[in-house]
C-alpha cells in the first residue's frame, strides 16, 4: 500500500479512483503521565508522554485508513490529510483521510 499526500503517486499512474477512506482513533494517557505533564508545565519544554501518545495514535489512524482502502481493492492512498482535535480532558482524536486509488 503506497501512501502519499500529493494527488498522485510519484513514478506511478493513477488508473481508477475508488473513493474517500478514513481512519480515526481517540486516545488518552493514564493518570501518571498526566501528573508528569503537569510537573513539566512548570519548566516548559516537550511533553514526551503526549508526543508518544499522538505518534502511536496517528500511526493507528493511518493503519485503519489503509485497511479500509485495501477492502475497496485499492493499492494506494493519495492526498492524505491529518486532523487533530481534543475531545475531552487528556484525550485526543486523531483523524486521517485520503483518496483510495488503484495505480499502475
Amino acid at each position: 500500500m503506497l501512501i502519499s499526500n500529493v494527488e498522485t503517486i510519484p513514478g506511478r499512474e493513477v488508473r481508477e479512483i475508488l473513493g474517500v477512506v478514513t481512519g480515526s482513533t481517540v486516545r488518552a494517557k493514564h493518570i501518571g503521565r498526566d501528573i508528569m505533564a503537569g510537573l513539566k508545565n512548570i519548566v516548559g519544554g516537550e511533553l514526551v508522554g503526549y508526543t508518544e501518545l499522538l505518534q502511536e495514535a496517528r500511526s493507528e489512524a493511518v493503519e485503519r485508513m489503509k485497511a479500509q482502502a485495501s477492502e475497496l481493492g485499492a493499492n494506494a492512498v493519495v492526498n492524505v490529510r491529518f486532523t487533530t482535535s481534543s475531545v475531552a480532558q487528556g484525550a485526543a482524536e486523531l483523524f486521517a483521510y485520503g483518496t483510495a486509488v488503484r495505480v499502475r
Binding site: 500529493v6 512548570i42 519548566v43 487533530t84
Partner: protein, 157 residues
Amino acid sequence: MWAVFFQILAQILAFVLLLGLGIFVGGTIERRHFSKLVERESQYRDLQATTGRVLPGRTQLSDPVLVHGEVVISVDYFKRFAAFFRSITGGRFKAYETLLTRARREAVQRMKQSARAQGANAIINVRIETSRIANGRGDRGIAGVEILAFGTAVQAR
C-alpha cells in the same frame, strides 16, 4: 492572625519558586535545545524538503512513503506569567514565538529523520499543522501545543 500571615508568605514563596524554575530551568532547556537543533539540521541539510510538488533539477520521483514528525510542547510557568502582562500591553510576544519555532524545527527534523530511515532522499509537499492540546480546567490544566509536520518522502533522481 499569624497563621494567615504565614499562609500568604508560603504562597508568595511558592510563586517565586515556580517563577524562578521557569526562568532558569526552562531557559536552560530552551538554549540547549536550540544548539542541538542547529547540529541536527546541519546533518540533514542534504535531504531536500519542499512544500511544492516538484524538485528543481530532479525529474524522476519514485517510492513514495508518507512520513510525519510531531512534538507536543508546553510553556513554562514564567512565560505564562509574562503572557498575562503582555496581554495587557499587547504587541509581539517573543517568549511564545521562540517556543513555537523550537517545536516546528523539531517536528521537521523528526520528519526528516523518519524519511532517511526509510531510505528516501527528498520530501515533497511538506505541510505543518498546529493544534492546541488542552486539558480543560481553565488555566490550571495542562496546556500544550502539538506541531505536526508531514510530507511524502521520495527517491529523487
